[in-house]
């Protein structure tokens, strides 16, 4: 069996259904898709229902301060194909909003919540965007979001 056969077929299938999505094989067992926020939900549903990506691993935000945008990365794994897909999407820094994927993969509930409280990305439709890790009276307006690159720390 030639190497990367499974990975390439996943990317090919996705590119066929969503021509606007950029997809590439990074290496064995790793594929990356770059998608705009409007197509994110459809791609997630396609990956879950048609490609067997049934096991969520993590959600993370990255702050590109100079470019004025955030990147949000979802890592989901397939229990049958044993491949991890990274789904990347970019949102503008002044209006960071994304549709929540909790109803696609329920397990990312806390991951999205964490990304909201530490990075300040609002997941629309999330059942409970509230403080999880920070102290209960954390004031985002006053102190900001800790994982952003322009976070200055908290004054006493």
């Amino acid at each position: 069996m030639p190497k990367l056969e499974v990975e390439e077929s996943i990317v090919k299938e996705v590119r066929k259904v969503f021509p606007s999505v950029e997809g590439e094989v990074d290496r064995e067992k790793r594929v990356t898709f770059t998608v705009d926020p409007a197509t994110l939900r459809d791609l997630a549903l396609h990956l879950r229902d048609k490609q067997g990506f049934d096991y969520p691993l993590s959600v993370g935000g990255v702050d590109y301060l100079r470019e004025g945008k955030f990147m949000v990365v979802y890592h989901v794994s397939s229990s049958s194909k044993k491949v991890v897909a990274a789904i990347k999407t970019f949102v503008p820094r002044d209006n960071p909003r994304l549709p929540s994927l909790v109803d696609v993969w329920e397990g990312i509930n806390w991951h999205e919540r964490e990304t909201w409280e530490l990075m300040g990305i609002t997941f629309e439709g999330h059942p409970n965007l509230s403080i999880l890790l920070l102290q209960e009276d954390w004031d985002h307006e006053k102190w900001g979001y800790p994982l952003r690159k322009d976070f200055k720390g908290v004054e006493d």
């Binding site: 067992k29 691993l57 990255v62 329920e106 397990g107 403080i131 999880l132 209960e136």
Partner: protein
């Protein structure tokens, strides 16, 4: 949700923790009707240290000691996850001998972590003798680790490019001696604790997690495998030399607390097997190569099977000496999310069993 204390006093939710009521630094909130649980949820975040943020202000090597503090019971696995991400970005090939030593240390930590959990599980089910035995055996294993690294729990021995030092002379003999002893101890633990009628009664049928729910809710590690899923990063996405090791993945059937406990017990047996093989088939040679201080621009997702389950390290670098972003996804964070799901319909007396069957570690969940 973090409720303020004033709001909590008015509500019906009873608060167990966060000031260490044997649960670790987390709070379990539950509502009852008599001794029946109407609902239970976990409130984490009391030991959040902002490790992901701190990692952005340290040199690549300086991040390692901090990562061990995510889950100090299982230090080597967390080192390895991060170090492998750094190595992937650099494109470094690690010497063969170092890979075997890494696998040996990771399995050593898996056993120390599972023994610690055995002690806690024994305590909450009323077996205090087993608590003493498990802690004692763990101590002997820590001594073995200290023989190699000079430290009991926080080794900082897995570094980008290999491991810090080669094994000292006479180490293999000591390790084999311990493994001979420990395999006998495991049999005794099995006979006295894991097959004990009282233990079985306390854990059987408690906190059932069905196969499909385990995947959907994103369970990790022994909790996931207790539900009958054969998912283990060491087999699915093999790293280091796990591909050459001969071992099985223990799984449960019913997905209750008992199955999760038995998965951990059998994992200890498999880990001793892997430690033996690693020592026997270890080639001679160097144990480290130089890795530059400055990393190129890149990104890597490194997955490792830690004792509590899969830990993911997503590392992003711009050209420089520090990580641009390090996202860590930890197994306790994934497993504690399940708690409100598995505790439905149980008794207040089952709460400790429910909680410890997930093997939670609050520091691991909070980071």
């Amino acid at each position: 949700m973090k409720e303020s204390n004033a709001a909590l006093l008015k509500s019906r939710w009873i608060s167990w923790g966060p000031v260490h009521p044997a649960s670790g630094q987390l709070r379990v909130l539950f509502d009852t009707d008599g001794e029946h649980l109407l609902g239970a949820k976990v409130d984490i975040g009391y030991v959040h240290r902002g490790i992901e943020k701190m990692a952005e202000n340290r040199f690549f090597i300086g991040v390692i000691p901090m990562l061990e503090k995510i889950c100090i019971l299982d230090a080597s696995n967390y080192d390895l996850g991060y170090v492998r991400a750094v190595e992937e970005i650099h494109g470094v090939d690690v010497p063969e001998r170092a890979r075997y030593i890494r696998v040996f240390m990771c399995e050593l930590n898996r056993i120390t972590s599972h023994l610690y959990w055995t002690a806690l599980m024994a305590a909450v089910t009323g077996f205090y003798t087993i608590l003493m035995w498990a802690i004692n055996d763990r101590e002997l294993l820590l001594d073995l680790g200290a023989e190699y690294t000079g430290q009991r729990v926080s080794y900082i021995y897995i570094i980008p490019g290999g491991v810090r030092q080669d094994l000292p002379s006479g180490f293999k003999e000591k390790a084999f001696e311990f493994l001979d002893y420990f395999e006998q101890r495991l049999k005794i633990l099995y006979d006295t604790f894991f097959t004990n009628k009282l233990f079985q009664m306390r854990t059987s049928g408690v906190g059932v997690l069905k196969k499909e729910d385990a995947l959907r809710l994103g369970a990790a590690g022994p909790t996931l495998r207790g539900s009958g899923l054969k998912i283990d990063v060491r087999k699915d996405d093999p790293y280091e030399v796990y591909e050459e090791m001969d071992f099985k993945i223990p799984t449960g059937e019913r997905g209750d607390a008992y199955d999760r406990c038995m998965v951990r017990f059998h994992e200890m047996e498999q880990s001793t097997k892997i430690m033996r093989q690693a020592l026997e088939s270890m080639p001679d040679g160097p144990v480290k190569v130089r890795v530059p201080w400055i990393a190129p621009k890149g990104e890597a997702l490194s997955r490792v099977e830690a004792a509590r389950g899969e830990a993911d390290f997503y590392l992003l670098t711009q050209r420089g000496s520090k990580p641009y972003r390090l996202k860590i996804s930890t197994p306790s964070f994934k497993n504690l999310y399940l708690f409100s799901h598995i505790s439905r319909g149980h008794l207040v007396a089952d709460l400790p069993v429910l909680l410890f069957s997930l093997d939670p570690f609050p520091l691991d969940a909070d980071r």
